[in-house]
Amino acid sequence: MNTIATTDPLKTRSRQRSTLRGKLQDALPQIVLAPSFLLTIVFVYGFIVWTGYLSLTNSKTFPSYAITGTRAYERLWRWTLESDPPSSWYTSITNMGIFGSLYIGICLALGLLLAILLDQKIRGEGVLRPIFLYPMALSFIVTGVAWKWFLDPGLGLEQTLHHMGWTSFHFDWIKNKDFVIYTVVIAGVWQASGFVMAMFLAGLRGIDGEIMKAAQIDGASSFQLYRRIIIPLLRPIFLSAFIVLAHMAIKSYDLVVALTSGGPGGSAWLPSNFMYEYTFKRNEMAVGSASAIIMLMTISAIIVPYLYSELKEKAR
């Protein structure tokens, strides 16, 4: 804080004033910042520490404060290895892997494709862009409920096609324990890919036209142009989109609840569902806290290296 303050010329000038008003003005930015600083300290970092603490107790319905060791983590670890029949935790983390990789991967690919197609100076771009972007404006609950009806074999797509005469059509993923997680991917991708498209579109518009012209003069085909020049230039966008999608994937909770209510036999659970279920419905606060800490460590494993590399580049 102070290092920034002393280099500020305005600040140095005001420091010479010693009136009350001057002092107050001096302190103004700090006074304004203080509440949000305090709130963040308490409600983000304070509660992270609190959750970590609870995960080492044997808290059930209510927090208990005596540290009793790592039993919650041991249980989670045992459940991690329990694949047949799958424990709820095993289902949650494997679903996280499937959902996370497909959701991020398809969103990136689809977003990039849409952005490239929209960038071909086509007519009506102004109409198409908001159409693709619009799903992002919906909440996960709305997305979930709408897709739930659409994918329900007795209500939506399958029923409609049967009425139209295609009676052999069969699509019951949402009712199938092995495929229900993929319906979550479908709904998630539908919602987020337009947003990723907007990010890539902004990136494409930012590329210097001279580079492209030079490449075209050198005889590069448009495939080569994208493959060798444009996509590598979009690297920072990939990174930002990845971070945005990754954290959205990890905290997806409402989508699973609205779309599948947990799926047949709990087969659509993600770790966040697990955490909520155990903490609030099953009164196993310690286990819930331990799973929350594991989720936090997963997110950190992704975010920290990113922040580190970003800050290092800035410092250079």
Binding site: M1, N2, A27, Q30, I31, L33, A34, P35, F37, L38, K60, T61, F62, R75, P85, P86, S88, D152, P153, G154, D172, I174, K175, N176, K177, T260, S261, G262, G263, P264, G265, G266, S267, E277, F280, K281, R282, N283, E284
Partner: protein, 420 residues
């Protein structure tokens, strides 16, 4: 940095004093946390509000964002943690005991003695309303889980009769299937599957077995061949559901029976509310039978009003609420609307329909013969951690993650051990 932290601290103090709680307790007011906000339930609760208004007590709902029992329980947890106790809260089974253990429940023993609740309220229910000899909650109603709800028109069409044994039931379902009707209306959500399994276990092993396994959590019973047979029976009956049952809400399954798309639903007596709301009459349009093999026994769950340890100046309102809740007139008026039966056995059954009358008679006889047992699926058999572990296993068995009844029994024992 240090000056910054100092300023932060000063601002924090200033904010803290500005937001310090400033509210005076109103003696003539009942603060009530509940999730009976929809149609019939809200109307039923209005009776209580009017009863209290006659005695001069105002009613204030504690708002719950999002509605539903889970949101209400989360809100309650936060209120209790903040020391901001409501007069009473709608609560279920073990939640009352959890809060009583935490020492935040009030004591209604004086009024209970005066009104003779010990004798009027079924003994099995007192396990949840009395803690360490003190009355901490009052039951509002008793639901029972082991019912079959049958569409009479469909039943007549296929020429079926009341099933007396589990095999009869399977034969009946087979008849419906042959006639091209969906035999079993099932909602494929964990709690519904487990609710049905409650009835199957009692039908397979009898009420003593049910009590040993699902209330006392006796290891030998949980591991027994009877339990294995119950899982086999579950597998048999689930085959009669339509292909699209997974994830269906219970009231949609009930609607299938009401419309005649399906023959039977195995569900608690709250399903009757749906029939009544659709202007269907018992015996004329629909039939209510006990799940075959469970006649004379009742697997119950119950809504309770937990009474908190409020300051002395709010106590009179609380006592009035408790007394009004257990009054015979309210018990009758409320339960006629809700579809459940009164939580005391000495209420006249004149206002009830045929199913309600049967429910009340069954409750009375089950209470006397010790065949009134708490539903594990509905959280009256064991603590929530265990009840949910049980629902997991049943649901995983129904949906095929657990493939055999041997494996299911093994998983059940392990899951319950884990959650203990």
């Amino acid at each position: 940095m240090r000056t910054f932290l100092t300023t932060t601290a000063v601002v924090a103090l200033a904010l803290g004093s500005a937001f310090a709680p400033a509210r005076a307790a109103d003696v003539k007011e009942v603060q009530m946390l509940h999730w009976w906000t929809s149609g019939g339930e809200a109307a039923a609760l209005n009776v209580l509000k009017q009863d209290l208004a006659k005695e001069g007590f105002a009613w204030k709902d504690v708002p719950v964002a999002g509605g539903g029992g889970d949101a209400a329980m989360t809100a309650l947890k936060a209120m209790v943690a903040a020391g901001n106790l409501p007069t009473a809260s709608q609560m279920l089974g073990y939640t009352v005991l959890d809060y009583a253990k935490a020492g935040v429940m009030g004591d209604l023993t004086d009024i209970a003695k005066k009104e003779g609740w010990d004798k009027a309220v079924p003994v099995a229910l007192q396990k949840f309303s009395v803690y360490n000899g003190k009355w901490v909650a009052v039951p509002v109603n008793v639901h029972s889980v082991n019912w079959l709800w049958i569409n009479k028109a469909v039943m007549d069409k296929i020429g079926g009769t009341q099933p007396k044994t589990f095999d009869d039931l399977i034969a009946l379902l087979e008849k419906a299937k042959a006639a091209g009707v969906t035999p079993l209306a099932l909602g494929g959500q964990a709690w519904q599957e487990a609710t049905m399994f409650d009835s199957i276990v009692m039908s397979t092993g009898g009420s003593d077995f049910y009590k040993k396994a699902f209330n006392d959590l006796d290891d030998a019973s949980l591991k027994s061949d009877t339990m294995k047979k119950a899982f086999d029976n579950l597998a048999k009956i689930v085959k009669y559901a339509d292909a699209n049952y997974s994830g269906r809400d219970w009231n949609l399954a009930t609607a299938m029976v009401i419309k005649g798309d399906a023959l039977v639903q195995v569900m608690g007596d709250w399903a009757k509310g749906e029939f009544v709301a659709a202007k269907k009459a018992p015996d004329a349009d629909f039939l209510c039978y006990r799940f075959p093999g469970t006649d004379g026994s009742v697997i119950y769950n119950s809504d309770m009003f937990g009474m908190f340890n409020v300051p002395a100046d709010r106590k009179s309102a609380q006592v009035a609420l408790a007394a009004a809740t257990l009054s015979k007139s309210f018990q009758s008026a409320f339960n006629v609307v809700k579809g459940s039966v009164p939580a005391r056995t000495d209420v006249p059954d004149t206002a009830f329909d045929a199913c309600g009358k049967k429910g009340m008679a069954d409750l009375k006889s089950a209470n006397e013969s010790g065949k009134l047992v708490g539903s594990l699926a509905q959280g009256y058999g064991a603590a929530p951690a265990i009840a949910n572990a049980y629902k997991d296993v049943v649901s995983k068995f129904v949906h095929g993650q657990i493939k055999t009844s041997d494996e299911a029994v093994k998983q059940l024992v392990q899951a319950i051990d884990d959650a203990r």
